[in-house]
Subunit: 328 residues, 2 copies
Amino acid sequence: MGMHVLVIGAAGMIGRKLVARIAADGGIGGRKVDKLSLVDVVPPEMPPGFTGKAWAADISSPGEAVQMVAGRPELIFHLAAIVSGEAEADFDKGYRINLDGTRLLFEAIRAEGMKQPYMPRVVFTSSIAVFGAPFPGAINDEFFTTPLTSYGTQKAIGELLLADYSRRGIFDGIGIRLPTICIRPGKPNKAASGFFSGILREPLAGQEAVLPVPDTVMHWHASPRAAVGFLLHAATLDTAPLGARRNLTMPGLAATVAEQIEALRRVAGDKAVALIKRVPDETIGRIVAGWPRRFEAKRAEALGFQAEKNFDEIIRVHIEDELGGRLP
Amino acid sequence: MGMHVLVIGAAGMIGRKLVARIAADGGIGGRKVDKLSLVDVVPPEMPPGFTGKAWAADISSPGEAVQMVAGRPELIFHLAAIVSGEAEADFDKGYRINLDGTRLLFEAIRAEGMKQPYMPRVVFTSSIAVFGAPFPGAINDEFFTTPLTSYGTQKAIGELLLADYSRRGIFDGIGIRLPTICIRPGKPNKAASGFFSGILREPLAGQEAVLPVPDTVMHWHASPRAAVGFLLHAATLDTAPLGARRNLTMPGLAATVAEQIEALRRVAGDKAVALIKRVPDETIGRIVAGWPRRFEAKRAEALGFQAEKNFDEIIRVHIEDELGGRLP
């Protein structure tokens, strides 16, 4: 019998790619998936050939999380979140969705397990936003979480809940701290991190892009394809070696803006690089200065999680997955 | 004008000692205290000479936290908690009091501040239970929190909330991770940590005590008097140097059971030591093996927090504060 998979946040950028990949593969880790439950605040698209349901719901509304797990999915991806900027601007909404929503989901699983034994795998997307400056040169797997945003706080709390519910045997959870995803497809957005993608995505499409920080800024990156790979690997991994430490910093690529630009030059030439306009922005500079630059993600690497090794690869993934395999 | 101080958890062991110390001193850090609001699940005792109110309330019941801060106390000690063993036995109660109760308090302060500007100092008692084995030899101030109990999880979440609410300017918070308090006054209890106090308290009173673990077990201790000192120092400390890292591991004394026993011998003689009966208990041994043994509490020490330097001192504090200054 095939697996029933629930994806909460299935209409987001990562959610859509995850569902598309499951549909393309027909399963996860060699096991057939035949039923999908797909939820988001807007109705997600159901790929053809699957039973199940796609619907719109607010995870923080009473009873909605209960509905999500009522079909007893064996595997749950919890990707739903109010993102960093919005959670900072709207205190109540961020706590309601990111903290209460997560807790309601975990409680719904617990309630389901009280009816009859139930032990789904729960893959929770966390973020490197659980960390806050000042940092050591490279952040190891035992560095403490002192978030500098409400979003990072809410993710860190989600991690603690995930670990405690797992320790209690309520579900089999694993938390995945995603690097900054680069190159994000789509239009430029106003996220402070937007330029990391923009300075590659726009020139690759023949458009101008703005670079608001110096070339020396270093950050921690992985492609959307790598992110989906992390989630699928987390879905089938043996969690026994994790012990009680259920949350993992994912591998990524520490690269400076200068290294990003040189990779762009190698892949798309000087003409593409010339489309990057330097317009320093002190506000963005200050925000980015508080972000982590480099991790030693030894635990995740030892468990088989893999990210790109250089920015040429990240750019190639974008060209393959978003631009039909070639530059316009 | 004197200060108005709210103590939540004022009827507990530390709460009572804190209130007694404030009453004896007449103030905190050189500033007069004239009004006390004292709350606990049982009605706390109001010391003579203060205005204010002592009442029983459940911090997790709707509206109760709002009542507690309605008088706009300038200083709030939040000591209320379901303890480790009970929070592990009663999942819902632990989360309700330790997580929801704390959040309701923080939200009540936020609501008060929306009416008109309000910026109380909030001193939150956390615990070394936010840490979970395996540990390095000494746990530094940047070690991650991977609690192995629901109590530790709830305290770690309280720390994250405290830091975020403080960062947001909702209040001026400081979290104090207490060592195991030794010698706890009163009757023996069933806490797994009870023997650390019992093997000293009972022999000092001429009673037998049971030692369930080997002499080599090391743990992290401070006296009740030191704990009250931490809270009072936290109440008046300049929080600016803390930055966004509002939670501090308190200094303490790393000592083995053998060192405890030798201190008892020096203070009360071989006759007292002979009252310790060795009755190995594997369950307690296993629990204690997961507990932290030693910290490097450099940040707290640099900020002026002080604990005892040896077990002779911890025993003397007990004799002075609990036994009227001399052995029976």
